[in-house]
């Protein structure tokens, strides 16, 4: 079996605080893989270690391997901008560039990395990305307006479109619905189920119900350790660890 991503013996420190403790897992292609766990357990840190966004933090230190297509992204001679373009990332706070138009937000990535040859290709790519993010119908007449005029849920779908326009293999999502109302959240969840046809999705959530609703596989992270991992139905019906059981039954913060 070929994997979308393989994480091997990953350790992360902030200064001398050991945050991610020897975590290993593999994610098959075209699935939704959820990482759940209580606040502060290291979910965001783990996610940022997967596309080397942790490099931005001068206090962060990473050991271990993360492989995509057999290539260790922490290996020598690996171009970090290449690594990041293999992933699309969606954050907890919807963060489109507020000074750029809706169109430019989506077009920026492909323009910079030369994914398109000309304007008409770019237009087409932007349109496709917005369609895939279920946003096209709502914004097709406002493409030149600033992204800041969109609602929170629309902004988050714009961020998803921005990520999709990079034509990534894997989409990383860090609590993408944490700041949205229930209606906007369920729209995003529906969207995820569509997107897994074409992408592998790794979603971080502190909400076990969400993990149960959307994911095929789930990992439970607790204080930086991977406590349990498996098919979502199994983990939620017959958890093998008492901590997992407590967590999925909502008996843990």
């Amino acid at each position: 079996m070929s994997w979308a991503i393989e994480v091997q013996n990953l350790n992360v420190w902030y200064g001398d605080k050991h945050i991610i403790k020897n975590v290993s897992f593999r994610v098959p292609k075209n699935v939704i893989f959820a990482i759940m766990g209580p606040s502060g357990c290291g979910k965001s840190t783990l996610l940022r270690a997967m596309n080397r966004l942790l490099d931005l933090n001068p206090h962060a230190r990473v050991e271990g391997q993360v492989k995509i297509n057999g290539i260790n992204i922490y290996g020598d001679n690996v171009d970090v901008t290449w690594v990041r373009r293999q992933f699309g990332m969606v954050f907890q706070i919807p963060n489109p560039f507020p000074h750029l138009s809706i169109y430019e937000n989506v077009a920026l990535g492909p323009k910079l990395n030369g994914l398109v040859k000309d304007k008409s290709q770019l237009d087409e790519l932007v349109k496709q990305a917005l369609q895939k993010a279920y946003l096209w119908d709502e914004v097709k007449n406002d493409l030149r307006k600033p992204a800041s005029m969109l609602s929170g849920g629309q902004q988050q779908r714009l961020c998803i479109a921005r990520a999709l326009a990079l034509k990534p293999r894997i989409i990383l999502m860090d609590e993408p619905t944490a700041n949205l109302d229930p209606v906007a959240s369920s729209k995003i969840e529906e969207l995820l189920l569509e997107l897994k046809e074409d992408y592998t999705i790794i979603i971080v959530t502190h909400n076990p119900q969400q993990a149960a609703r959307v994911s095929d596989y789930v990992a439970f992270l607790y204080m930086g350790e991977l406590i349990e991992i498996g098919e979502t139905s199994t983990v939620f019906t017959r958890p093998s660890n008492i901590l997992t059981e407590k967590y999925v039954l909502g008996r843990m913060g």
């Binding site: 901008t81 990041r84 992933f87 699309g88 954050f91 963060n95 000074h99 990535g109 910079l112 961020c159």
Partner: protein
């Protein structure tokens, strides 16, 4: 309300009123004192090039142009410098030297302008003359901008000195704005696989209001700067034909001429009306700067 609060409020009202009164007083006296020349010449004296106390004939066009030219030179040199300095301090420099750079820059912004004037006259002017202006004139003298054979003190030197003086000021505005960019926007940029330079370019777009504010406020300063400019601008009352002409600015004209002004009947009004023109331009430019600052502050 507690007594101490009442007293505090009273103090505030008194001091705010005093400052407002002072501003109003200044504007009033500018208008009253320049009135005679407006009465005699209308607005024509703004667009005339003559300074003849014997005939009581005045026109400030050369000084107005001098102000505009020297500050245009200043701002076009200062902005690229200010942006680079801000980016270097906020994004490139190692944390250990960051504080040092910022302190030096803030210190430079607060130096008395007479120091810049002295340094400009004795150090900067000869260097500019030898290594920049003379070669420019020699090889590109056919371009009208460089057509005058330069001497060290002229509009160009004044512009460069002004650029040096305003760079730290606008740089600190830009730096503050850059440092205030939300971390999640930086993450968004890097997550798209941008290089560091592409990220910087994108984020500069995000703070363009602050950059404009920095430009306008610095321009306001450049136009009003007096002592340093008076020391290097050449103080010659002719219509500038090139950047290398000696010249005047409105503020250096006022500083140089007011000691004689009492002896004539219309020179004082002429200087006052120069001040009024400068005040009006400065007001517009600073309002523009404040407008862009407000855009920075109010954007969600």
């Amino acid at each position: 309300m507690m007594d101490s609060e009442k007293i505090f409020l009273l103090f505030l009202i008194v001091f705010v009123s005093i400052s407002l009164l002072i501003v109003a007083g200044i504007v009033t006296s500018l208008i009253i004192n320049s009135y005679p020349i407006f009465l005699r010449d209308g607005f024509s004296f703004i667009f005339k090039s003559v300074w003849n106390p014997v005939k009581e004939d005045y026109g400030i066009l050369p000084a107005l142009l001098g102000t505009l030219i020297s500050s245009a030179i200043a701002i076009s040199i200062a902005m690229p410098l200010a942006i680079s300095l801000a980016i270097f301090s906020a994004e490139i420099a190692p944390t250990s030297v960051r504080g040092f750079i910022n302190s030096v820059s803030d210190l430079m912004a607060s130096l008395p302008s007479v120091i810049y004037g002295l340094w400009g006259l004795y150090v900067l002017a000869p260097i500019l003359n030898q290594y920049i202006m003379t070669p420019l004139h020699q090889y590109l003298g056919f371009i009208p901008l460089f057509s005058t054979k330069p001497i060290p003190t002229n509009l160009f030197t004044a512009g460069v000195l002004l650029a040096i003086m305003i760079t730290p000021f606008s740089s600190s505005i830009i730096r503050e704005a850059y440092n205030a960019i939300p971390h999640h926007l930086k993450e968004a940029a890097y997550s798209l696989g941008m290089t560091r330079w592409e990220v910087i370019r994108t984020l500069l777009g995000y703070i363009k209001s602050a950059i404009l504010a920095g430009a306008f406020l610095a321009l306001g300063r450049a136009m009003g700067e007096t002592v340093a400019v008076a020391m290097v601008v050449g103080n010659t009352f002719t219509l500038p034909r090139s950047l290398f002409d000696m010249g005047y600015t409105i503020s250096s004209l006022i500083a140089n001429q007011f000691p004689n002004a009492e002896a004539y009947s219309y020179m004082m009004p002429a200087l006052y009306s120069g001040a009024l023109v400068l005040f009006t331009i400065g007001l517009i430019i600073n309002l523009a700067g404040l407008y862009w600052i407000r855009r920075v502050v109010t954007r969600g």
